[in-house]
């Protein structure tokens, strides 16, 4: 089987992968780099468990071929997790019991991470839209919405804080 060389940045580090043409990005991340936080739920682009960020935007790791990612920057759940513990969004998931089996969780967190990076004070509608392509079979979604809304709300407060500090200055 012919192997292709692909060079990209994964979680901030340049890597060169040797992959078959038919290998998906998700398989390459999991199999070649051991980044098993990217999950496969359907392998046909519906469930969102394989969501990763490609140049900051959520994409389906199961639909993208590894060979298509030459020169891109890929971020996985491992890439947005702090060296120890949880980031603010992850912590909010935990506080709101927004996961049960945890299988959909990395994809959910990445979709919302991308949304909140773009729109830190996203409203419920935007949050629903952001995870409309991420299936969760366990939680019934409501706790996930609450987890994301909580972060958006605290961003709103932080923003109000900064602007009031600025105006008082």
């Amino acid at each position: 089987m012919k192997l292709f060389s692909v060079t990209l940045v994964v979680n901030g580090r340049a890597v060169t992968l040797r992959v078959e043409a038919r290998q998906s990005l998700a398989d390459a991340l999991r199999g070649e780099l051991g980044l098993t936080g990217t999950h496969l739920g359907c392998e046909h682009g519906v469930c969102g468990a394989c969501t990763v960020l490609l140049d900051g935007e959520p994409v389906r790791g199961c639909l993208l071929l590894a060979v298509q990612t030459e020169g891109t920057e890929v971020t996985t759940i491992e890439g947005i997790s702090p060296p120890a513990g949880l980031n603010e969004l992850q912590e909010s998931f935990r506080r709101h019991h927004a996961l049960q089996c945890g299988y959909c969780t990395p994809g959910m967190v990445l979709s919302l991470h991308a949304l909140l990076a773009r729109d830190p004070t996203a409203d419920e509608e935007a949050i629903r839209e952001a995870i409309s392509g991420n299936l969760c079979r366990c939680t019934g979604y409501l706790p996930i919405l609450q987890a994301a809304l909580h972060v958006a709300q605290s961003n709103r407060l932080k923003r109000a804080d900064t602007s009031s500090t600025q105006s008082s200055a």
Partner: protein, 772 residues
């Protein structure tokens, strides 16, 4: 600790992407298996040629039924049934005749999955298609093709309680309706998978991937392989959901370990989604013909039910338990003493079936609660009122339904149904938003009252151990597929031993760590594993107390547990920590060996206790009320659930946050089964739904606002903690509540009788008549 809304200890690893699911595990020299499955619903195999597959580079083995050990039995049924299931059991690979699309025919093992698939493509099979039974009810006709030589009926049974004929003839009103529940299933987000590795020199077979009932399956695999149970270890990894379907003994649960043994190489098999659709247990497909009667005051006087369940092509591990539960529990929370049911478990050329969250109950609740609403309508009584008038009363507990399922009587152990009912109804009223019909939108409210029998199974085991550093190990025979047992069981141990939760480690699903285990099914883990851990922790505490008293040379009554140490009451400086006691009790402890008091501490086998607790045959019974408000667009047929409330008397909640999560998640799963999910076959028995694009799961857009009322009112008398199993009640009443709401919205009481409530069915219902 019991009752605390703790955040879960397992969350961090999942949130960081550090969960370890079976597909995340790989081993040096690992091979991968692909299961070749029948493309036909019913066909005879006249020839299989595996030669070309074996010749392919990278392919290491190809096996068919011809390679299986001689006298290998089919997969047995693990539950009592209503008939002899032997003729209908499934072999691990089909030999002559394939009976459903997806039946395993051969397994190819290769260096990687893609090569195994390439190999499978080269297996040549001559198939002779046979006529198929695509619908079990059609299969009951005398001229229907036979799924098995023994016919198309696995079992027939029934109950006839009270006097149904008299009640029907004396009734003020009766309704008669046939309800159809569609085939659907659990659909966990992670597909199944196994990784088996055999160390031939040490005669040790390790299997990663089992869940739900690993101890049961471990013993079965040993029997099928004819090896000692000591030569096999099952290890449960993190598991991406089960909801009842995953973790039973499937053909692959023999094939993959057996191949690892044969090849002496690690063999991994990870199911893909299409395969999952064809291979996992399906469930729920059934038809209920219901006659229900009431007197002029709206007192329910009789239920007369004919039930046919389509169990698919083989009888699997669960036998006929799904229709069995439905038949036994049909009367629900009502004081109805005249009840008759005639049930048939029928076969068809479709994937075999098993249990899925609220097995039989989701179906029975839908049929019964729709019929009760139809009676209310005829009598001109409000749906809440008719239920109010019929609920079993507190003083009538324990209530014996008079039926049994899997040889266990259906008894409701406790409950104050009216109390829970009124709280649920008034809360839903209180939070109502002023909304009404507008344009093409019709609104309606639906209600369902139910009792969920739960926490079945003979026993559960637990071991609690304190180590020399003061850490507490909890080993349970139960398993976890996302429910949060690592937290809730830690809470139980923490409550008894008064140690912080971060000093406790809970291990589950590993036959190498605990000799016996029941497992996780029938909403039993909190009840059975919770109480087993409780009993073991109490025993550890008693042992520690005894040892502390001896060491401190004081009376046991004068020793108190405080802040993780045992101290002399009133003289806290005289104390000994848990860790020190554990060290003292370790066999070979120097102090004990030298100590003249050695004779006083006879049980120096570590600070540990194992407990095996017996289950109560009838389990625990949770009363629940579901209320749904829907908006139906009569032009598009779209149903939107706008507001939902589920109230359940859980006895005692170990962690209310986890209980709420079970209820809310359960409701959305039930909503999927009500509005969206359906496994479709065509008339030839070809599977039509093989992707999430054809089989729709609820997405975030389908999730309504849900209020989960966790009520702790009637403690279960069956167990010291008083807890009741709550994993299934969220799902159990969803079709009933939503179905009733849609029928109300449309003003067609009789027209909502087939699930799922697709736009086509809803539009047909608006045109009044029932639809197929």
């Amino acid at each position: 600790m019991i009752g605390a809304r703790l955040v879960r200890v397992e969350d961090e690893r999942f949130l960081r992407g550090e969960g370890r699911f079976v597909a995340d595990i790989s081993l040096p020299f690992m091979t991968e298996a692909f299961v070749l499955r029948s493309p036909h619903a019913h066909a005879r195999i006249s020839r299989i040629d595996i030669g070309p597959a074996l010749a392919l580079d990278g392919v290491q083995a190809v096996v068919t039924a011809a390679d299986l050990p001689a006298r290998l039995p089919p997969i047995p049924c693990r539950i009592p049934t209503h008939g002899n299931m032997e003729p209908f059991l499934q072999p691990v690979l089909c030999r002559d005749v394939a009976r459903y699309v997806g039946e395993p025919v051969a397994v190819v093992v290769a260096s990687n999955r893609a090569m195994a698939e390439d190999g499978a493509e080269r297996i040549a099979i001559d198939w002779q298609p046979l006529p198929a039974v695509a619908d079990a009810i059609a299969g009951l006709k005398p001229d229907a093709p036979a799924v098995h030589d023994a016919g198309n009926v696995a079992s027939r049974w029934g109950f006839d309680l009270g006097n149904v004929e008299t009640a029907l003839s004396e009734a003020a009103v009766t309704v008669r309706q046939t309800f159809g529940i569609q085939r659907h299933t659990a659909m966990p987000l992670e597909t199944r998978g196994l990784l088996a590795v055999y160390d031939g020199a040490r005669r040790m077979l390790e299997v990663h991937g089992p869940t739900k009932v690993p101890h049961t399956n471990h013993a079965l695999l040993a029997r099928m392989l004819q090896v000692s149970t000591a030569e096999i270890r099952f290890i449960e990894p993190d598991v991406g959901g089960s909801f009842g379907a995953r973790g039973e003994f499937y053909p692959e649960d023999f094939l993959i370990p057996w191949l690892a043994l044969r090849l002496r190489k690690p063999v991994r098999w990870i199911e893909d989604r299409l395969e999952h659709f064809a291979a996992i247990n399906h469930s729920r497909e059934s038809r209920f013909e219901v006659t229900a009667a009431a007197d002029a005051e709206g007192r329910l006087t009789a239920f007369d039910v004919k039930l046919v369940a389509d169990l698919g092509a083989y009888i699997r591990t669960h036998g006929d338990v799904v229709p069995s539960h439905a038949a036994a529990s049909f009367p629900g929370p009502y004081r109805v003493r005249n009840y008759r049911v005639a049930a048939v478990a029928a076969l068809s050329n479709k994937t075999p079936s098993g249990t899925v969250r609220a097995p039989g109950m989701f179906e029975a609740n839908f049929a019964r609660e729709r019929a009760v609403d139809m009676l209310a309508d005829k009598l001109g009584i409000d749906p809440a009122e008719i239920r109010r008038r019929n609920l079993i009363r507190r003083e009538e507990m324990p209530w014996r339904v008079g039926t049994e399922s899997v040889r266990r009587p259906i008894i409701f152990d406790s409950g104050d149904f009216s109390f829970v009912f009124e709280r649920a109804v008034s809360e839903f009223d209180r939070t109502a938003l002023p909304r009404s019909a507008s344009g093409t939108i019709r609104r309606g409210r639906g209600i369902c009252a139910l009792v969920e029998p739960s926490a079945f199974g003979a026993f559960e085991s637990a071991r609690v151990e304190v180590d020399g550093e003061g850490f507490v190990h909890v080993v349970t025979g139960a398993t976890s597929q996302g429910q949060g047992h690592e937290t809730s069981l830690a809470q139980v141990a923490a409550a008894v031993l008064e140690v912080p939760i971060d000093r406790i480690r809970v291990r589950h699903g590993d036959t190498g760590l605990i000799r016996f285990g029941g497992g996780t099914y029938a909403s039993r883990a909190a009840v059975m594993a919770g109480n087993a851990v409780h009993a073991a922790a109490v025993a550890v505490k008693a042992k520690a107390l005894r040892t502390a008293a001896q060491k401190l040379e004081v009376a046991e009554e004068d020793v108190r547990l405080a802040d993780g140490r045992f101290e002399l009451a009133g003289t806290p400086e005289v104390n000994i920590t848990f860790a020190a006691i554990a060290r003292l009790l370790a066999p070979g402890n120097a102090e004990l060996l030298q100590s003249p008091t050695v004779a006083n501490i006879a049980d120096n086998d570590g600070l540990t206790a194992s407990c095996h607790i017996r289950g109560v045959p009838s389990g625990t019974s949770v009363f629940a009320v579901h209320l749904a408000e829907v908006a139906v667009d009569v032009e598009t047929g779209q149903v939107a659930v706008e507001r939902y409330l589920v109230a359940a008397d859980v006895g005692r909640a170990i962690n209310p946050r986890i209980v709420e999560g079970q209820l809310i998640g359960g409701v959305v799963q039930g909503l999927g089964g009500t509005l969206l999910e359906e496994i479709v076959y065509d008339a030839e028995g070809q599977l039509q739904t093989g992707t999430f694009a054809d089989y729709l799961l609820p997405s975030v857009h389908d999730a309504p606002a849900i209020t989960a009322m966790v009520i702790e009112h009637a403690l279960s008398p069956s167990n010291p903690l008083g807890v009741k199993g709550v994993g299934e009640v969220g799902t159990s009443g969803a079709a009933a509540a939503i179905g009733n709401a849609v029928a109300r919205a449309l003003g067609v009481p009789a027209a909502i009788n087939a699930l799922p409530l697709t736009p086509e069915r809803v539009i047909a219902a608006t045109c009044a008549g029932p639809v197929p």
